[in-house]
Each structure stands twice: as C-alpha cells, then as structure tokens.
Symmetry: C2
Subunit: 280 residues, 2 copies
C-alpha cells in the first residue's frame, strides 16, 4: 500500500470561533519527532530547504511588486524550539528590504500602560511586506495564564480579542500564518545542555530558562488551549514537528511557498507609455 502523501492541513487547526467544537484539537496527538514531509534522506531534505528558500526569495519580490497583500508569519514555541533557526533557514535567502523579523521581549513601562495588542499592532506588515514575529501576542495568553496572573475568564476574553484583531487584519489584506514549533521535553534538555556546553551559545541561555522548563506541562496545556481557541478559518495554526531542525525548516518553507503561490501574485500591468520610451 502506497504511503499517503502528507498534507499541511493534517497539521493545521482552524475550526475555532466557528460552529464546530473547538475541543477537536489535541496537541499531544502530534509527535514532535515525526518527519512527515521528509524525503527519507537528510541530505535531500536539506537541499530541498535550500531550493524552497530561493523560491521564497523569488516570490517575495513578486509579493512586494504586487502590493495587494501583507504577510504576517507568527513563530511560537518554547525555548530552544528553533524560532531563530527557522528565520535563518527559511528566510535566509530573502532580502531584508521586504522581510522584517520582530523579536518580542517583556513589555516596557510604556507598553504595559496600554492594551497588550498596542505594541503588536504597530509592527504589523504594510502592503507588500512580510513580517515575522519571533514570539508574539500569544505570549500574552501563555505566560500570564501559566503564572496565574490573569483569571480563566480574562484568558478567554483575550482569545476573543486576538481572534477579532486577527480577523480585522485579514479583512484588511493581511495573510496570517501561525506556526507552533513543537519539540519534545527530551529534545529541549539536549538543546539546553548544548547551550551550556558551548561558550559561543551562552548568550542564548538565561537562568530563567530552567525555571520555565519546570513548568513544561503547564505550558503544553496553555499551548493546547490557546491553539484550540485561536486556530481560526482566517488565521489557522500549523503545528510543526520540530525535533528535527531540517524537517522543521522543510515543513515551514513548504507552507510559506504554498501560501504565497495560493495568492496568485502578479507584477502590476506594464505601462504602454513606458514600453515606448527609449533611454538615450
């Protein structure tokens, strides 16, 4: 029997905020160690990621010229899940002219004095731009929920606020791709230990990372709940088995290329006057 070709939709959740039961989504049914998009050869997978990264560069140029859309890519995942590596591996061939990455840290005093979406909204893409959020407004439902800083009612309210915010963005021309980089607790141990063992990676390590690791189960539950509540038809979540870095990049690059191709981008029609001009 032929192995069924995997589809991105097998790893997507988009039925929140619709009539369908949101309970259908189960993060723990997706194996972080799976490689559904692998060719079976790591070398071929890596070559394929390289090809896709070049294709994203080509499509980004077209996306910028077309100007009908804005693309927002959200990367979420626990420490060491590979958010930085994804940006390097998937968007590394793309010009900084058209792609911006925004890394979200703890909010400043000015930011805390407004709603949590205030700073997020300021950094959304303009027409023709691709913006990658390295962490995002989802930290504002994950961290406060795990730490008990907000009530379950406030968490539910934030899900609704985020759904309405993302809906408004998409209705105004933004395409939103949200990726949850799904690694196992064992893989995180390996990666944290690597950071400790390699002085050139010490800058990536914070003592707080070990505290967060102790809350592993609570964070998995918070991700489960957040994805179930905010994977909408207009802004679906894609869960990326990410224990393998190559597979992670392969899957995300595939999704980005499919998304851009689906927009039927085209260069704006040429001007007949321009075609008649001869530069002396």
């Amino acid at each position: 029997m032929a192995r069924r070709t995997p589809s991105l939709s097998d790893f997507q959740h988009r039925s929140a905020a619709t009539g369908k039961a949101r309970g259908r989504f189960a993060l723990d049914r997706i194996d972080p160690g799976a490689k559904p998009f692998s060719t079976g050869s790591k070398a071929r997978d890596k070559a394929r990621v390289g090809e896709l990264a070049l294709e994203i560069d080509r499509l980004q140029d077209l996306f910028y010229a077309d100007r009908r859309f804005k693309l927002l890519v959200v990367l979420q995942g626990t420490d060491t899940s590979g958010k930085d590596g994804t940006i390097r591996g998937v968007f590394g061939q793309t010009s900084a002219l058209g792609v911006h990455a925004v890394g979200w840290k703890a909010p400043t005093a000015d930011e805390r004095a407004r709603d949590y979406l205030w700073r997020i909204h300021q950094r959304v893409p303009a027409d023709g731009e691709i913006v990658i959020f390295n962490r995002s407004h989802y930290e504002d439902v994950l961290v406060p929920t795990v730490n008990g800083w907000i009530t379950p009612e406030q968490t539910a309210q934030r899900y609704e606020q985020i759904n309405a915010f993302e809906k408004m963005l998409t209705e105004n021309g933004t395409v939103i791709c949200k990726f949850m980089l799904h690694i196992s607790k064992d893989e995180q141990r390996t990666r944290l230990q690597e950071r400790l063992d390699d002085p050139t990676k010490h800058w990536k390590f914070a003592a707080g990372d070990l505290e967060v690791r102790k809350q592993w189960d609570a964070y998995q539950q918070a991700y489960q709940n957040a994805i179930a509540a905010t994977g909408t038809p207009w802004a679906p979540w894609t869960i990326v088995p990410a224990d393998s870095k190559t597979h992670r990049n392969l899957m995300i690059a595939t999704a980005i290329v499919q998304t851009l191709q689906g927009l039927k981008l085209h260069y704006p029609p040429g001007s007949p006057e321009l075609a008649a001009i001869r530069v002396e």
Copy 2:
C-alpha cells in the same frame, strides 16, 4: 406640570451589537437647536461651563494619580460643528500634561498601507491619560461610504471591526465617550459664511468644505447608520444638540464630569514610610 429634568441617557445610543434592534436610533428625532441642559440663561450656562471645566481639571489630576483607567473622548461632527471649540471650552482648564488632543487628517501613504485602525491604535491613551480624538476612525466609515469607495458589505464589516476594537480597548481599561456634535444645515451655512467674512478665520476654510456641504443629506444618513451600528454598551454615542455653542459645551462638560465621577477615582494609598520622613 414640572418640566422633566433631562438625562444624558435620553441622548445616548448604546444598544448596537446587543440583542436589541439597532433600528431604534433616529438621528433626525434630535433637534440640533434644542438646549435641554440649559438653565434658561446664557450667562448662567456659561458660568456653569466654567465651573465644570475647573472640575474636569481637578478630576483629571485624580484620574492621573489613580492610574487604573484610560479615557478616550471621540468628537465627531460635520465641518463647523464645533470640535475645536469643544476642546477649548471643555478641556481648556486642564493641564496638557494629562490631556492630549489628536487631530486626524487624511491618511499618509504609510498609513494607507496598513489597516485603517493601525494609526488610531497608536494614539490611544495610556493609564491615567485622557486623549481627545478630533475626528477619528469613524471618518473611515463616513467618508468612504458617502463617496462609494467601499461597498455596503465593507461598511458593515468596518462597523464590526470598530465594535471589536473598542470592546478590546474597554476590556483593557479604557473608558470611551463618543460625542456626535449635531448641528443643522442652516447653522452650518451661518458658520461657513462667518469664516468667509472674517479674514482671521480663513485658515479654517477649505474650498472642499462647500463640496462636502452639498453631500449634507448623505452624511446625515451615514452618521445615522454608523451611530446605530456602533453605539454599544461598552462605547455608547451621545448626540449633542450643538447649534448653541454654549449648550454644546455645557452638555459635553456635564457628560465628562459624570463619567469621571462614576469611576470612583481615588489617590493611591499613602505610604506609611513616606509619612514618617522629615525633609531636613
């Protein structure tokens, strides 16, 4: 029979986005020449506005110290309806430290490249701040609708986007007061002519104002529809009979004082350590 004391709620619309029929609201049932809050004497009304403006200054200081809320005041109305005059008359006694007015003009290229709420969100008040919008995101449903730049479906979509946006703001501590400055077409003629007759007022006149005046009925209808759809429990509209400038200021100042008083503001509790300090 004693004349019934007018209540602000008689001039408010707040039932949109609830189960109640939004059709209930009728702008043309409110007389722009009415003076329901007048004492019957213009001199006494003016004196009362002065007292209320001082009270707003006192309450603003408390509002700033309290820091639990943000106040957003939206002023909408056709040309010459008195938006600038309201800011001068009602907030003229209040320190610029705690109150900012934002005048919205046609969007820049950078602003047009994002959703229309992008620039609005950037200027919302922080904790303890009062921000007055002189025109607002409502221009983005009024102007494009009257000029046919967006479809009725897009207009309805924007009402929903605005309701969700304002709901999110209020759920995050913002109090929103929206005032529609309601003048008659005759009163507008008088005021536009005054601007033409007085060289010191020429800067307030633009040739386009006369074009907009020709669309009077279309704008009244657009206001009717927008207020009916966006006067919500969390962000109600107050319709201000505004042919009389004194009455306009009296009514808005009354509403602002009532809103601030309703928040039960208080200075944060003093620190016992501070009370023990003696400055040498």
